[in-house]
Symmetry: C7
């Protein structure tokens, strides 16, 4: 897989904090610990967010990639 693939931009963020927007409009924030080419990913210290407020804390979660709208990743 070429280094120029969009998914590579995600892989380069391992251990960084990312925000993941799901199709049901929920946002999860946490440290990216694993990801694959389907955008399946795991977050550590995962938090569910709403308007910059923390709604819930989940520890480690595995998000199924096909539910993801977009991912905010550090530059």
């Amino acid at each position: 897989m070429s280094e120029k693939m969009p998914i590579k931009a995600l892989e380069q963020q391992l251990e960084d904090v990312i925000s993941v927007k799901l199709k049901d409009q929920r946002i999860f924030r946490g440290h990216l610990t694993r990801c694959d080419m389907y955008m399946n990913l795991t977050l550590a210290e995962a938090e569910e967010m709403e308007n910059e407020q923390i709604l819930a804390k989940y520890g480690q979660i595995l998000i199924r990639g096909n539910n993801i709208l977009w991912i905010q990743i550090p530059e």
Copy 2:
């Protein structure tokens, strides 16, 4: 399949208690007894949860992976 794949984080939890959020917003909690790469999985002593309350108990259930939003897994 590499040990770094997100789905491997699930496989490492066999027999542990996980919580599974479905696309219809229901949450199921139980002991993970089987899983595959599509996130199809079986839970033993499965409970349907709402606001930390138990809505129903189902014994063993098989959840179809494509309905899963995310899975909370122990760290």
Copy 3:
């Protein structure tokens, strides 16, 4: 297909009574007579259920696997 696959837990229930929850929230109960890896399955003496009450009886039905949320199977 490994014996540890989730779908194998279903195959082991042939002839047993299972409950199948569909994406449109309907529940069907019946004797599992056939199933495949897509969770397509046939039930004999199939009943549509609501709150533990029988809504309708259908004899033999073939359920398309991609409509299934989860399946309650005997332990």
Copy 4:
């Protein structure tokens, strides 16, 4: 394809009357004249049903399999 596959239970009903429930909750009843492994099928003398009443008659229809929830088939 093994004789034990769920779709085989459908193929055995060629010429028989079946009822097909679609995802938009409509029910069609007619003589099964063709079917394939995706559950694409044709019905002759097809009728659209509601509460056991006939809403409309269509002659021959081809139903796209991916819209099917379940099929009631004679035993």
Copy 5:
């Protein structure tokens, strides 16, 4: 592809008038001029129908197969 496949019943109607019901509940009627195995198809002199009334005329349209619920075809 076997002559007994459901899609073959469609191919046999080339040039005939068919009615196509889409998932958004619209019905299109026209002369079938092309079709493929995904049920992608073109209609000539296509009309959008509601309760047997003509809502709009479109000339030639190409319908994407995955939107189709069912097709009424002459016997």
Copy 6:
């Protein structure tokens, strides 16, 4: 790919004005400049239409094929 495939009817319209109806019921009109077998396509001088009125002008747009309901093409 056979010349009789429905998608070929689209390819024959390169540079012509087509109207594309999307699943969210929006209609886009423009000069077809590129298309592929998934119905991904680009329109030049693209306009969003409602009741024959122009709602917005977008210049060049790329439409993802899986959102397309149907395409009106000149005869």
Copy 7:
């Protein structure tokens, strides 16, 4: 992949500003930095827009291609 493929029109815009309309009707605008054949793409200096107003700024985002309705690209 042929130079005439629709996705090629996107690849030619690397570094340019594009607008991406998602299925949930949100619009994102930013500099296209990566894209692949599924329309997965990354935007730098990404902004969420509504009626030509900026709703939010996200820095770098990765958009999952299957959520995209259409992309406005410079000519």
